[in-house]
C-alpha cells in the first residue's frame, strides 16, 4: 500500500486587490492561494514553514501548474484544499483544488513541485522526521 500523506483545507475571502479588470480573481493570485494552503498544511502538522527555514531547509518551487475552471469574484469565500501527493528523495509534490465555499463549485486545480534544499541552496534528502510529519496519521 502506498504511503498516504497529509492534507488540509484553508478558507479564504477574496479581497478587491486580488481581482482584475475582468471583474474576477487575477490568474496569478491562485498561485498565491496555493502557497497560503501549503503554509496552513505545515502549520496544521505542528511544523510551520518558518520553522523549517529556521532548521536550515527551504522548499524553492521547481514547477507550478494551474487549471482554471470557473472564476472566483470579489468577496467570495473559497476553500483551498491542499495535499501532499508524493515525497521523493529530495523533493515534494503538492496538489491543490480550490472550491467556492457556497456552492462547492470547482474553481481550479493545480500542482507545485518543490526541491528540498539547505541554506546554501544544495538539494538534500528530505529528513526522516519531516517525512513522518507529513505522513497521514491514521
Amino acid at each position: 500500500m502506498p504511503p498516504s500523506y497529509a492534507n488540509c483545507t484553508l478558507a479564504h475571502r477574496v479581497s478587491y486587490g486580488e481581482t482584475d479588470a475582468m471583474g474576477v480573481v487575477y490568474y496569478a493570485e491562485y498561485i498565491h492561494y496555493f502557497e497560503r494552503a501549503r503554509g496552513e498544511l505545515c502549520r496544521s502538522r505542528g511544523y510551520p514553514y518558518s520553522r523549517m527555514e529556521e532548521a536550515g531547509y527551504m522548499l524553492p518551487v521547481r514547477e507550478a501548474q494551474c487549471r482554471y475552471y470557473s472564476p472566483a469574484r470579489y468577496d467570495d469565500l473559497i476553500k483551498i484544499h491542499v495535499q501532499i501527493d508524493e515525497i521523493r528523495k529530495a523533493s515534494i509534490v503538492f496538489s491543490y483544488k480550490i472550491y467556492d465555499e457556497a456552492d462547492e463549485k470547482l474553481l481550479c486545480t493545480g500542482m507545485t513541485h518543490h526541491a528540498f534544499v539547505n541554506k546554501s541552496g544544495r538539494p538534500v534528502a528530505v529528513p526522516e522526521n519531516i517525512r513522518e510529519i507529513f505522513s497521514q496519521a491514521e
Copy 2:
C-alpha cells in the same frame, strides 16, 4: 454628542507572497490589509461592498496614509482593526490599526478617505440607509 460609527477587527495570516527580500511584509501589503478589513466591516454590518456596487455605488479612494511602527513577518497572525471615523456629505473616512495577534504589538496605523460616487463616477450624497448601517448600534 458626535455620532459613533461602526468598527470591526479581522484576523489575517501573513503569507510568503506578502513578504519581501528584507524578510518582512512589503510596505504596500498593509494597504491591502486595510482593504480586507474595510470589506469585513461592510460584511459585518450586513452590507457587503459587493452589494454596494450592485446598488450602483462605488467608494474610490481619494487618499491613503500609513505609518509603520514594527514589521510583520511570514506566518505572523495579525489583527486589522478598522473603524469609520467620519461620514461626510459625499465621502467616508476610515482609520486602521494593525497589531500582532500574539503580543498585541502595534505594527502600523493608517487612514483612507473614500469618495462616494455613482456608476458614472459622479460624487453623490451618502444615502441615509448606508449612513445608518455604518452607525454604531448602542
Copy 3:
C-alpha cells in the same frame, strides 16, 4: 509547412515588491511577467489587448504552467520572451522564456492557454483578422 506566429521580448526590471523573504522573486510574479509580455506582444502587432476587449473579446486563461530554473533577484534586468505556439479554433497557446539580461541565464519557462470568448463568456472562433495579426510576417 505549419503557420508561424508572432513573438516578442520585453525587458523588465525586478522591483522590491516582487521579491519575497527568500531574497528572490516570488514564484507567482513570473505569472505576472508572462502577462506583461503577452500584452507587449499584442501591442507590438498593433492590436493591444485593451482593443480586443473593446471589440468584444476576452482571453480568459484556461491553464498556466511555469518551470523555475534559476531565481531572479531585486534590481535584476530580465527579458521575457513570449511567442504564440498555436492558434486553435477557439483558443490560443502562448509560451514563455525568461532570461537574465546580463548573462543570458535561463530563469524560467512557461505556457498559458487562453480561451477566446465573447462578452458573455461564450467561446467563439478566433476571428480571421486576429489570426492574421498574430501570424508572423515573413
Copy 4:
C-alpha cells in the same frame, strides 16, 4: 540656499494584474510604483539600492502617503516622477508625482519617509558619501 536633491522619472506600462474589478489600477499598486521610481533614482545616481544593502544599510519605510486624482487603466503608459525632498540626520523623505504619459494628466501624488538603518535595524546617520550621491549635480 537650501541643498537641492536628486530626482528622476520612470516610465511604466500598467499590466492587467495591477488593475482591479473597478477596471482601474488598484490603490496599493501606486505604492509599488513609488518603489520602482525610488529604485530607478538610486540606479540613475550610480548607487543601486541593492548596493546600499550590500554596504550594510537599509531604508525601511516609516510612513507612506498617497493622494489619488485620476485613475490609471490597463495598458496606460505612466510616468512616475520621484524626488528627494529632504535628507535628515538619519532619514530620507521622497515625494512622487504620477502622470499619464499620453496627456500629462496628474494621476496621483505621494510621499514616503524612510529611516536609515544598519543591518541590525538601528538608525544610523546618513553617510556623507550617500548624502553627496543624492545631492543634485548642478
